[in-house]
């Protein structure tokens, strides 16, 4: 081999057509990792490194008269070589160039292109989810929208949405989409059991969390880890559905690729979680607003055993209930009587279910009583079923009782049970909106009732810590502040407090 060949920057071997190595330059010696070994006079298939296709030895086994060029990977060298076999008369020149660097760069470029493509696709996907979320109006729709979009793309294996019940840590699977697999089955099992699903951490932290290698994640229950490994589901992105401080639920997105969720994707999905959380809040509020419709039932009660019906009939007096306070297994009931002397009404109120009576006020044409009724009385039974009493009046052997039931109550069952237990029929049923009173409305209404002096007295006494215990100021001190006498202050305070409580308890006079 001449000097230019010996000093060439590429590897060069001089091989006989029968495959015997005659000579090689230092570059070839280095590329082929010969080290101190001397390959000269050895057959090429014994000294040339192995590759899967073994094209160099095959060249010498077959015809050596045509030039050949190829790239090959040599695992033992961990090197890609560009090999050229050039026959020249009684010699075959074998040229070698290291292509490892280029090959690896190409691969990195392809990987990076793949990453960019994936990010583009996920960004579009996220935009789609956000767009659809805007249109979703119920919680079921929100969950299904997210699942359908994330579970059915080729990017991910499956997705599920878990929702938390209000005031509870328990998760309920609201929707799931994607490949049928055992991982999802095991997650469902875990929700029925201890609920230690891999999404827990995201719910606790309120931040999107990733698990890169489910099979090896010790915190994940083994049945789920095994299933994930069997299914080839490797990574998880858990996105909490958040609205401010509250976490309504979580989306679990599962992928086969360990690196499916980059930091950027984690952030982008965080936005999906916030948007969905906001949507869940909105949906909940909508259904709470609709819960403001209540069912109002009016009963006609002609049961002679009912103490109030009986007392009204016996004394030919109109009775009306002005207030009702459930107190354990009895009711404290306040009644106004019109007509006969109150003493007669009080005497007429007897029987096992009347636990006590007391006259509160006594006038010529009537009075007010306090009556303690057993829970087995008609009023007791209705209140026990969750009904709110609107009014109850008793006249000439008949009672009219108007109650409100919340929308989720089983109206028919309650009405039937009441009619069966007592001599009663439903005479009216209607749905109406419950009046929601805002703080502002309450203040306005109260302001209309209080005189300026009453409001001043209350405000001053309040800020003077007169209502604290122990009192911050005495009545005399507050009175002095206002330039009035003590008895006058107490008079204003009592009047103001009564109006305040009237408005609060919605009693009308």
């Amino acid at each position: 081999m001449n000097d230019p060949a010996r000093n060439a920057p590429i590897g060069m071997l001089d091989v006989a057509p029968d495959g015997t190595v005659r000579d090689l330059n230092p570059a070839a010696r280095e590329l082929l990792d010969f080290g101190g070994a001397d390959p000269t006079d050895e057959p090429i298939d014994a000294v040339f490194p192995q590759s899967v296709e073994a094209r160099v030895p095959r060249f010498f086994e077959t015809s050596t008269d045509r030039e050949r060029s190829f790239d090959a990977y040599y695992p033992d060298l961990d090197r890609w070589l560009d090999v050229s076999l050039v026959p020249d008369g009684n010699t075959v020149y074998l040229y070698l160039r290291d292509r490892t660097e280029e090959r690896r760069t190409e691969r990195q470029l392809a990987d990076a292109r793949g990453d960019v493509d994936r990010l583009t696709v996920t960004s579009e996907l996220i935009a789609d989810v956000l767009g659809e979320l805007v249109a979703a109006s119920t919680r079921a729709e929100i969950a299904e929208t997210i699942c359908a979009q994330l579970g059915e793309t080729d990017l991910y294996e499956f997705a599920w949405v878990g929702e938390r019940a209000v005031g509870s840590a328990d998760l309920v699977m609201r929707a799931a989409a994607g490949a049928d697999n055992r991982t999802l089955d095991r997650i469902a099992d875990e929700l029925d059991g201890d609920g230690r699903v891999p999404e827990r951490r995201a719910i606790e932290s309120g931040e999107p969390e990733t698990v890169q290698s489910l099979g090896e994640a010790d915190a994940v229950p083994e049945p789920i880890r095994r299933a994930a490994f069997a299914d080839g589901v490797q990574s998880l992105l858990a996105v909490p559905l958040t609205d401010g401080e509250s976490v309504h639920g979580v989306v679990g997105v599962y992928a086969s690729d360990r690196d499916a969720f980059s930091e950027r994707e984690r952030r982008n999905f965080g936005i999906v979680g916030e948007m969905a959380g906001f949507a869940v809040t909105a949906a909940r509020n909508r259904s709470l607003l609709s819960a403001d419709t209540v069912v109002e039932l009016t009963f006609s009660l002609t049961d002679a055993d009912a103490p109030l019906v009986a007392a009204a009939a016996e004394t030919e007096t109109s009775l009306s209930v002005t207030g009702l306070v459930p107190d354990g297994d009895r009711l404290v009931c306040y009644l106004d009587a019109e007509g006969d002397a109150p003493g007669a009404v009080e005497r007429a109120l007897d029987g096992e279910t009347v636990l006590g009576t007391r006259t509160v006020a006594d006038h010529d044409d009537g009075g007010s009583f306090e009556v303690l009724l057993d829970e087995s009385t008609p009023l007791g039974q209705l209140v026990g079923q969750g009904a709110t009493l609107r009014s109850a009046t008793y006249d000439a052997g008949e009672g009219r009782i108007v109650v409100e039931l919340p929308p989720e109550a089983e109206v028919r069952r309650i009405a039937d049970a009441f009619s069966r237990a007592h001599d009663a029929t439903v005479v009216a049923k209607r749905e109406r909106r419950r009046e929601a009173t805002t703080v502002g409305e309450f203040r306005d209404a109260l302001g209309d009732r209080l005189t300026d002096r009453q409001e001043n007295a209350l405000r001053t006494a309040f800020f003077a810590d007169y209502f604290e215990s122990p009192r911050g100021s005495t009545a005399e001190e507050v009175a002095e502040a206002l330039g009035i006498t003590g008895p006058t202050l107490l008079h204003h305070l009592r009047a103001g407090q009564r109006k305040l409580l009237d408005e609060f308890f919605e009693t009308t006079d």
Binding site: V52, F229, R258
Partner: protein, 196 residues
């Protein structure tokens, strides 16, 4: 895709190494040289084509490949009539047994020479005994049919022809999978045929 050139590989088990990283696939292929006849496929689609074209005893399947993943290839193999064994090459080793896994074994990357050879040998042995069992079943049936037919009848008898071909195919496969351990075959052959 490269075919092994070693003539002696013809009588050895056939393995297919599937990995989208050519360097990895080629490295495993060389590690299996001398143990089995090895082919390589550099992607899921390539792997399915290779299995359609040739009979393989063991497939070493890289789990995470772009395009068709290892799990998807496995699913397609299960749907088709592939009857070899599958060793999944995974990125992690959770230390699970493979009892209820959809694959027959798994190896965690990077796989060294001794591990991959041991895993392939083990699967070949398991498959070999399975094939041997099938062979005994078919061969017994073939002998029963053979005993009922005259030499002339055998030549034109369809069922006998099929049994004969299946038995030969199974015997060849069991021998290449079990190597020396296929002695049971010689013992079975030594049992005199009922008709003779």
């Amino acid at each position: 895709m490269g075919a092994g050139t070693d003539e002696a590989d013809e009588d050895r088990p056939r393995a297919l190494v599937v990995d989208d990283e050519r360097e990895v696939a080629d490295a495993y292929a060389l590690r299996l040289r001398g143990l089995c006849e090895v082919e390589t496929a550099y992607g899921g689609e390539d792997a399915l084509r290779a299995v359609e074209d040739h009979e393989f005893d063991v497939v070493l399947l890289d789990r995470h490949m772009p395009g068709l993943s290892g799990d998807e290839v496995l699913e397609r193999l299960d749907e088709g009539d592939f009857d070899g064994r599958v060793i999944m090459v995974t990125a992690i080793d959770p230390g699970f047994d493979v009892l209820d896994m959809p694959f027959d074994d798994y190896l965690c990357k990077p796989v060294d020479r001794e591990d991959v050879r041991a895993a392939v040998t083990h699967q070949c042995t398991v498959l070999g005994y399975e094939v041997l069992g099938d062979y005994f079943g078919v061969e017994s049936k073939r002998r029963v049919v053979e005993a009922e037919l005259s030499t002339e009848e055998r030549a034109s008898h369809e069922e006998f022809g099929e049994l004969q071909a299946t038995a030969e195919r199974l015997e060849r496969r069991a021998r290449r999978l079990l190597g020396d351990a296929a002695d049971a075959l010689d013992d079975f052959d030594a049992i005199g045929r009922e008709s003779e």
